[in-house]
């Protein structure tokens, strides 16, 4: 029973307690707050599992943006809390509990039976790390070995954005999304929104930049920059561009298109799509990441903002 194990057990119990509370509590708003806390605790677990990249992503995406999204939704839906009262009966709840417990038991059995010399692709990845010219193996996997997944990743985010925008009313199409805030421009939030973003942008770019060799990367950096943009708009100092804006659409589309262009260029220079010529891997990867940054920042922020709600000021 080393000290580390004790900490792990404590953390695990804390997380399970928080998850149970989030599910069981009656009031939805409290449940959302519980979920945000749960997300941040989960970041600690990733640190304990020595996976810093994932910890950063979880903190930024799981705790931060998802939390903002859910808190916004919970605040607006608080009034409908009373209407939906019919909680399923005892029998349904017990049956659901039994089924969930069976699934958990099966999974636990599988976890305990995982093979001991755990099969891993780490040696293979480490061997070929040199040719990708990137120090951080996770970034190497993301942008070299399995670059198709990352491209599809960006396309998933864009399609989700199209889906969210398709939910606008026809009369608001081409208008601007809105954050439901009632901040006054002289208040403390405006002051906060003037001080934090510059530092935030530096931190975001820094995380994006060191992603090549140390834990970090474009997703985490883009999330931080998106958060800063949301903060500024939330404080009322700026507002979202209209959906039909040309530069907005070009920037949104630029990331994947540049990625594909470099990918197809790979046929000529390195004999396969998404292959990098020897020696030029790092600059190309950086070019792709730089192209993807604006796409991700805009897309993630607009996903939180939701469908366009009002016509652009003529």
């Amino acid at each position: 029973m080393t000290l580390a194990l004790a900490v792990d057990i404590g953390l695990a119990l804390l997380i399970l307690a928080m998850a149970a509370w989030t599910i069981a509590v009656r009031d939805t708003f409290a449940s959302v707050i519980g979920f945000v806390t749960y997300g941040l605790l989960l970041t600690l677990v990733w640190v304990r599992l020595a996976l810093p990249d994932v910890a950063l992503t979880e903190a930024a995406m799981g705790g931060g943006l998802t939390g903002a999204l859910l808190i916004g939704a919970a605040a607006r839906l608080r009034r409908t809390e009373a209407t939906v009262r019919e909680r399923p009966g005892v029998f349904t709840r017990t049956l659901a509990a039994v089924l969930s417990a069976t699934v958990t038991a099966a999974l636990s059995f599988c976890v305990l039976n995982l093979p001991d010399p755990a099969p891993t692709l780490a040696p293979g990845a480490a061997a070929k790390l040199g040719s990708t010219g990137v120090g951080n193996p996770v970034t190497a996997v993301l942008l070299a070995y399995r670059s198709m997944d990352t491209l599809l990743e960006a396309i998933v985010v864009l399609i989700a954005l199209f889906g969210v925008w398709s939910l606008a009313h026809d009369r608001f199409w081409g208008g601007c999304p809105q954050l439901r805030t009632h901040a006054d421009s002289e208040g403390i939030l405006a002051y906060f929104a003037r001080i934090l973003p510059p530092i935030g942008i530096i931190v975001g770019v820094y995380i994006f930049w060191i992603g090549a060799d140390f834990p970090g990367g474009k997703f985490q950096g883009a999330t931080i920059l998106a958060a800063m943009w949301l903060l500024v708009i939330g404080a009322g100092l700026a507002h979202f561009p209209p959906v039909s804006q040309a530069w907005l659409r070009i920037l949104l589309v630029a990331g994947p298109l540049v990625f594909m262009a470099i990918g197809f260029a790979g046929i000529v220079t390195a004999g396969a799509v998404f292959a990098y010529p020897d020696g030029f891997a790092k600059p190309l990867i950086l070019a792709i990441e730089i192209a993807l940054m604006p796409t991700l920042v805009l897309a993630l922020a607009l996903l939180v903002a939701g469908a366009p709600q009002r016509m652009p000021p003529q």
Partner: protein
């Protein structure tokens, strides 16, 4: 010298933990939102300060130390802003009935 620094770290982190405890007790015991806010922002920020202070000697100089201090400053900034905002909302009575 190393031992002295270690002892300093232990004590300072213990003090920090104590202030966190005080803040949490304040959160649970105080009657209305404003007092609870007061307890939280004061105690937790101080606790965090002490913890950071305790950890300073453990980190090697240029980069990590600055990062640690920056974390504390961000926490202060965020705590103050959010505290002030929640206080305004609480005063206007628009907040949670609880």
């Amino acid at each position: 010298m190393k031992i002295a620094l270690d002892i300093f770290t232990i004590f300072s982190v213990m003090a920090g933990a104590f202030f966190f405890l005080a803040g949490t007790v304040g959160l649970l015991r105080f009657p209305d939102p404003l007092t609870r806010l007061h307890a939280l922002t004061k105690a937790d920020n101080l606790g965090l300060g002490l913890v950071v202070l305790g950890l300073l000697p453990q980190t090697h100089w240029p980069l990590d130390t600055i990062k640690l201090i920056a974390i504390w400053l961000f926490a202060l900034l965020a705590g103050a802003t959010v505290g002030q905002l929640m206080a305004c909302t609480a005063r206007r009575g628009g907040g949670q009935p609880k």
